[in-house]
């Protein structure tokens, strides 16, 4: 079906729904690279106006990637909850935007409608929203998940401790872990990006982290972010796997480029769940996503990168994950050119994920060839903190020496908790206090607990 909007004497025509969505997208380099971006400022607003008048029902009638040729489309259509959708089925996309922002649409209402919203509806409405709107709606939504601690509660803010090392040296990784724990990091997960996907090395890292977690009785979970097939193999070998990680895409073809499909994810989910390692909950999956990965795999089907990204969340929500995060600034300037585009993308991803019911976090990050720096990340950090982001990364001094990019430091999380009055996950907060890392007010102690340091020191002298 074709869509159109008239401005003055000029009629703007959009051949199909995916073209309309692409032209309505706020400017970003990846859509230009894909040849999908609006040709002028006016065309973009014309597309947004046409989109605002579009009934939400239209998204159930026109698939942007054919049902027959893409299993993610089938997942979206087959799992759509028509009863939840009844709450919004008379609205246009524009009315949906106003409805989301309305005071009557509370956290509870948003939770009830979540499974009635498709990724394309979420992407569409986000294109009619300013950064402020994305923050305002996200801030209303609470998505809570549990494994050994409780993540995502209102007023709480967690971190993934990311102790990467270029050669996976277990002592080097442990050194970064200790540094992070002493700075209050790691309540979302302690998660390593491995330099290799070797079964033996990944297994050793998992055993080392699990031993350290048990020795210090830390209420958190550990993860090595290897391919799901590696994780499944490790589970079969009896290695202590808390969480199963996978990078996911929003189209069947992009997932094929990651070497996965829904059947493999089902298998990995069941295998991880069967271990029953969570003490207070069984959210066992951890997913990473990021705008542009579909285009970079030549698997975007002419769909703009933000809509592709939202489709990832249909995959993620099938598995009730503990953690999902976008890695907005990692992919490079050909997809998100500068701090402005990275900021916008991260806020969109966080909003769409939360709206679809996911425990969204964000890797607030940039590469050295992007037009961005620490100031841009500082801004985004505050925005996501206000938006109620579940977690961010914690990396020594912001500098990931394995992946060669900059993300948030341990210090960044301390700062955000302080200025916004946010606290770690409750179980982890108590642990920090028991270890003397924080004082009775939850602030980091200026004095070190000598006993704890000695215990940690013994890890190296053994």
């Amino acid at each position: 079906m074709a869509y159109q909007h008239t401005i003055g004497r000029r009629v703007y025509k959009f051949g199909d729904l995916k073209t309309l969505l692409a032209k309505a997208s706020p400017y970003r380099s990846g859509d230009v690279l894909a040849g999908l971006s609006a040709e002028s400022y006016e065309e973009r607003v014309a597309a947004q106006m046409a989109l605002a008048d579009l009934p939400l029902k239209r998204f159930l009638e026109e698939a942007i990637i054919p049902y027959e040729s893409d299993e993610i489309t089938r997942l979206i259509i087959d799992n759509h909850n028509i009863i939840a959708f009844n709450l919004i089925d008379t609205l246009t996309v524009g009315e949906f935007r106003d409805w989301l922002l309305s005071d009557d649409t509370t956290a509870g209402v948003l939770q009830n409608v979540s499974t009635g919203i498709t990724p394309e509806m979420a992407a569409a409405v986000s294109k009619l929203m300013r950064n402020q709107d994305l923050v305002a709606v996200s801030n209303k939504i609470e998505v809570v998940t549990r494994f050994r601690d409780t993540i995502g509660l209102k007023g709480r803010f967690s971190t993934r401790l990311q102790p990467n090392h270029p050669t996976d040296d277990p002592r080097g990784i442990a050194a970064s872990m200790i540094d992070g724990l002493l700075l209050g990091s790691g309540d979302a997960v302690i998660g390593i990006n491995p330099a290799t996907d070797s079964l033996a090395e990944v297994g050793n890292l998992l055993i080392m982290m699990d031993a350290l977690r048990q020795q210090f009785d830390i209420p958190t979970q550990t993860c090595v972010l290897s391919h799901i097939t590696t994780t499944v193999e490790l589970i079969r070998n009896g290695i202590p796997v808390d969480l199963c990680f996978q990078s996911i895409g929003g189209t069947e073809k992009s997932n094929a480029s990651f070497g996965i499909n829904l059947a493999l994810l089902d298998e990995a989910y069941d295998a991880t769940l069967s271990l029953k390692r969570g003490s207070i909950g069984q959210n066992v999956m951890y997913f990473e996503t990021g705008q542009g990965s579909e285009l970079s795999a030549n698997a975007n089907h002419g769909v703009d990168q933000q809509t592709c990204e939202a489709r990832c969340y249909a995959v993620a929500r099938k598995y009730q994950p503990l953690l999902v995060n976008t890695v907005a600034g990692f992919i490079g300037p050909e997809y998100l050119y500068d701090g402005k585009q990275i900021t916008r993308a991260a806020l969109e991803d966080h909003f769409c994920g939360k709206l679809l019911g996911l425990p969204m976090g964000a890797d607030i990050c940039y590469t050295n060839h992007a037009e961005a720096d620490q100031d841009d990340m500082d801004n985004l950090l505050v925005l996501l903190g206000v938006a109620g982001c579940n977690f961010i990364m914690g990396i020594p001094g912001s500098d990931d020496i394995m992946l060669n990019y900059q993300s948030t430091s341990f210090h960044d999380a301390i700062y955000l908790r302080k200025v916004l009055g946010l606290r770690p996950a409750p179980e982890f907060e108590q642990w920090l206090s028991r270890q003397g890392i924080t004082d009775e007010k939850g602030n980091l102690n200026s004095r070190r607990n000598a006993e704890l340091l000695n215990k940690m020191k013994s890890l190296w002298t053994k």
Partner: protein
């Protein structure tokens, strides 16, 4: 307080032996103290300067004279750096003037050597000549003919496919600046492609990374490249299939 700091320093000194990560930075309030903050800024500044550095074609050409090979100056379709950063597709193709230049140099050869700025011209400005001084004589002694050396501005790795095909070379080697990190802004990569032609992807290439004084030395890199060149000609391929023999490099 000083006692606590001293305790910290001894503790972290031990941990720092095992990682180059920025651990044990200390804190003032919730922030990183000024000294470490500025050290970080300097590393980022080096990386940013490297991204916007320019290929020193004059000095490179002068240094290349000793090989007694023709030198050609080429440019990709990316007209300037900001465009280069946003349009990788343009950085992979030669502009029309460059295509004409190559036509006048057409004669069959075994190897074409390409030097391109990539994401750090600093890396090739500093490291390309040192490597070629070892590698070119080795190739010549082995009886291989070398095409004109191509200096390319605003080039990406795959531009060597266009160049190799235009010059009808059997194999292309491109020396190119890698994406600068905070720990190194001058890291050069070498990519080797057998039977170069437009449309190839990364799995058709072999890559030798991190060539710089504090990484892989010019001597080590030249040895690896020369080995790969010989194997590539022997097996008439490059890329993933050639990597299987990488164990032979570990001596």
């Amino acid at each position: 307080m000083d006692e606590i700091k001293a305790l910290d320093e001894i503790f972290f000194a031990q941990l720092k032996e095992f990682t180059a990560a920025r651990i044990g930075l200390g804190r003032t309030g919730s922030s990183i103290p000024v000294k470490e903050s500025l050290i970080f800024n300097l590393a980022h500044a080096h990386a940013r300067d490297a991204v916007y550095s320019e290929l020193n074609t004059g000095k490179l050409a002068e240094s290349l004279l000793e090989f007694d090979l023709p030198i050609v100056h080429l440019h990709s379709k990316a007209a300037y750096r900001v465009q280069y950063l946003q349009r990788p597709d343009l950085g992979r193709q030669l502009d029309d003037v460059s295509k004409d230049i190559l036509e006048s140099h057409l004669h069959h050869s075994d190897i074409v050597i390409v030097i391109a700025d990539g994401l750090s011209a600093t890396a090739v400005n500093n490291n390309a000549i040192g490597l070629l001084k070892i590698l070119v004589p080795q190739l010549q002694t082995a009886g291989l003919t070398i095409a004109p050396i191509c200096l390319v501005k605003q080039g990406r790795v795959a531009i060597a496919d266009d160049i190799g095909a235009a010059l009808r070379a059997r194999l292309a080697i491109i020396l190119i600046g890698e994406r600068p990190g905070l720990s190194a802004a001058d890291s050069m990569g070498a990519y080797l492609t057998y039977n170069p032609r437009p449309g190839l992807t990364d799995e058709a290439r072999n890559c030798i990374s991190n060539i710089r004084p504090h990484g892989l030395s010019a001597k080590q890199a030249a040895k690896k490249i020369f080995y790969l060149v010989q194997e590539s000609f022997k097996r008439k391929l490059s890329g993933v299939a050639l990597k299987d023999n990488a164990g032979a490099l570990n001596d």
